[in-house]
Subunit: 196 residues, 2 copies
Amino acid sequence: MTSDRRTRLDPSERRAQLVELGVHELAEHGLHDLSVETVAARAGISKALLFHYFGSKRRYRLAVVAAVADDLLARTEPDPEQPPDVQLRQSIVDSVEYVSARRQLYLSLVRGAASGDAEMREIVDRTRSALVARILDGATDLGLPSDDPLLPVAVRSWLALAEEAIIAWAPDGPVSLDRLLDFVESSFYRTVAGRP
Amino acid sequence: MTSDRRTRLDPSERRAQLVELGVHELAEHGLHDLSVETVAARAGISKALLFHYFGSKRRYRLAVVAAVADDLLARTEPDPEQPPDVQLRQSIVDSVEYVSARRQLYLSLVRGAASGDAEMREIVDRTRSALVARILDGATDLGLPSDDPLLPVAVRSWLALAEEAIIAWAPDGPVSLDRLLDFVESSFYRTVAGRP
């Protein structure tokens, strides 16, 4: 298959292919174990060519993490045909599923070594802000007090609760996935909407 | 006063004095603006002597941050003479006050550049764990289901909510301090205790 893999791609196709390979690698490894050698080998190109496209290992990682962030937002995008509470529940389920499959990556981004990199933090912050904006956009439909200045603070805080719950939860521990999902979901209504 | 300041201190006194000066500096400046020159000058010693005591600027910063963490834990220690709900409220008030006076430091520790340093993260994690343990120790008094395996997850998640609320809140914005405190406190009962 080597000849296939060595197919000449134009620069934007090659870049997209390398980022996609990196996204797959990250599902299994943490950010710091993302091997540019492995990715280059899978693409059938040299490591030097990979660097040619991205400039440095750090810039390549940034491109991969940005792609993961876009991917997370796309996969947790609610279905507008559904009622708002079903949309919220589904987004929570999708997020937990997405994160569970990339736990090491998630940890290194949310509170690991990666957060020492300002551009990496910027990607994480931008993703958080997009998730918050999505909820605020649907505030009225969710029965939230959209003109209350506390609302953006409450939504951001709930998102931090949700992130931490996913980190603190052990997939094979005594708390079932359903209970975790119920906790995250009910916390939303109880804290953000102020409903019991 | 120079002669006073140049008083010979034994090594442990000198170390404590330098850490204390650093803690005061940090109340005004972020972690990366902590100037060892200023601290050494205030102690009436040379920068070289400061390095002699701590080994490096990084190790000095770590010692100062560890002292701030101990200080936070001490100042938010609840009064056991008070009823449990009053203790919780007072701890929240004390924490917000403590953090507000050190906002830049708090930001750099919780999600800033400092989190790129594993030992720095270790201090932050240890402090979080101590705050969680304090709540779990008082779980029965607070009417929490102390044998529920979800409880530690819920407490950690609420703490993340509280941290984020303090960061997202603007002291001179439209949300009053009292409302912020009420939000953080009521969120505790609504999420951790499952009470409305």
